[in-house]
């Protein structure tokens, strides 16, 4: 399944997933054959706290239309507290992007456990839908990267 809007444009979405919960949740979604758009590509990180705001901005720079960060549920972090730091960092980053007038829907954080394959799939479908509705990222890309 691929999200396509009327003009044939397809979104590009990066999902950062922590190794212990969300990446495993994505695997579980796979085992359960729970589909989500192919426009979403996953990057494995050890923990949500590994995700530097620079990675997210880089994705947008290179033409991503949405970035989602998934980690263990608060309290369940494999490293005890990583996702708590990630939560604050992302809240601040998203708030700043909003302040700069970037569409709010382009960034998201979701907590997905290793047992929540269905949630992973549903989350990705919903996020892809949001991004498709928002359309192309015009406010935060670097035009030099456009072919």
């Amino acid at each position: 399944m691929q999200m396509v809007n009327e003009t044939g444009w397809k979104p590009k979405i990066v999902a950062f997933c922590c190794n212990w919960c969300s990446y495993a949740g994505a695997d579980l979604a796979g085992s359960g054959r729970l589909s989500y758009p192919a426009d979403i590509k996953i990057i494995r990180v050890p923990c949500s706290c590994r995700v530097n705001p620079l990675f997210i901005l880089r994705a947008f720079e290179r033409g991503a239309d949405g970035v989602i960060l998934c980690g263990c549920h608060p309290g369940d972090c494999h490293y005890t507290s990583g996702n708590y730091y990630a939560r604050r960092r992302m809240t601040m980053l998203f708030s700043m992007l909003d302040y700069l007038g970037i569409e709010r829907g382009r960034t998201r954080v979701e907590w997905v456990s290793a047992a929540e394959g269905a949630k992973f799939s549903a989350t990705m479908n919903d996020f892809a839908k949001t991004i498709t509705e928002l359309g192309e990222n015009r406010k935060l890309g670097d035009l030099r990267c456009k072919k």
């Binding site: 290179r62 033409g63 670097d142 030099r144 990267c145 072919k147």
Partner: protein
């Protein structure tokens, strides 16, 4: 030839020029030379503009070439040079003098073709400076604010601009404007007035004695640099405002599909300027600060028949957030000379 048109017609004249025009415009309280488009706020009375005319010939960044990468193949495309005539309208004496400095660097062998193509296609319309700022001191460095050297020179007298053409290029441009011929008298009067005004400026007579190759070591070793440089932030404000600073860095930007090679202004005030594998040759701000002023006042004239690479535009006086500038340096080290 001398012509005349009312100041009120200036905008119409700029709009009427069939070529691209770069002119000083004001936006959000800052003035700079921009490609003029209808609706822009012309700032022909500003001396000097916040950003200099240098930007037109030597922009803060420009693409040099593009490498397209497809698998293991690389395809190179060079950036086009400037190939269309354009006009700069409203250049000041200091900025014109600055271009002469830049020419020494960029037009010397090997010629910088990106710069040279712009110089070649430019017709320069200058404005005489009838209302200098206290920070102006261009006359110390060979610029003539009363009669700037350009294809066309405008002299503001009363409600009119008197126009003198100095070259064929200039004559050709002015012909398009269909102006009335005028007397030369008011122009001569204005030149005299400007001459008097500049005599009264606070920095009209700076002592430049000793700023030459012969006193190089003495200036270099002066203990005063420590105090002079102490407050320097190491930012690039002075460099980027300066109409003669010509250092640039060449960088590659990975676009994901290839590489965009571009050059951008660099600043000798930066800690990573001319950084090499073995470190930087100027590890402290003192040395970087000294470098900038030694270059303008000593090294450059020593290598260019006495031509200073300061033109006295006074932008560094206005722009330095810590109020450090070249006049302070000249005064501090000049004093030493007079002892």
């Amino acid at each position: 030839m001398t012509y005349q048109f009312p100041k009120a017609n200036a905008e119409a004249i700029v709009k009427g020029i069939s070529r691209a025009v770069y002119a000083p415009v004001e936006k959000d309280g800052l003035t700079s030379f921009e490609r003029y488009e209808a609706g822009m706020n012309l700032a022909l009375d500003t001396i000097p503009t916040d950003k200099s005319m240098k930007d037109v010939f030597f922009p803060q960044w420009e693409n040099l070439m593009h490498f397209r990468v497809e698998g293991k193949t690389i395809e190179l495309t060079e950036e086009e040079r400037c190939h269309q005539d354009f006009v700069i309208f409203g250049a000041r004496a200091c900025d014109i003098q600055a271009v002469k400095v830049l020419d020494k660097v960029f037009l010397a062998d090997p010629v910088d073709s990106y710069y040279a193509s712009r110089r070649e296609h430019c017709t320069l319309v200058a404005l005489a400076c009838d209302k200098p700022e206290d920070s102006c001191f261009c006359k110390n460095f060979g610029a003539d604010p009363a009669s700037p050297d350009a294809d066309v020179t405008l002299y503001p007298v009363g409600d009119d601009y008197y126009v003198q053409t100095n070259t064929e290029k200039g004559e050709a441009l002015v012909k398009e404007w269909n102006l009335d011929k005028a007397e030369e008298g008011p122009v001569e009067w204005l030149k005299g007035e400007i001459g008097k005004k500049y005599e009264e400026l606070p920095f009209a007579h700076l002592n430049l004695k000793g700023f030459d190759g012969e006193h190089l070591k003495e200036k270099f070793d002066s203990p005063k640099w420590k105090k002079l440089s102490m407050a320097c932030l190491g930012c690039g404000s002075c460099t980027f405002a300066c109409p003669t600073c010509q250092c640039y860095d060449i960088r590659d930007y990975d676009t994901g599909n290839g590489v965009q090679r571009y050059r951008c202004w660099d600043s000798c005030m930066y800690s990573d300027f001319t950084l090499m594998a073995a470190g930087t040759p100027r590890p402290h701000q003192l040395e970087r600060y000294r470098q900038r002023f030694m270059h303008k006042l000593v090294y450059f004239p020593a290598n260019n028949d006495g031509m200073y690479s300061c033109v006295g535009c006074g932008r560094c006086i206005k722009k330095c957030p810590m109020h450090l500038h070249i006049v302070k340096v000249i005064k501090a080290l000049g004093e030493e000379e007079s002892k």
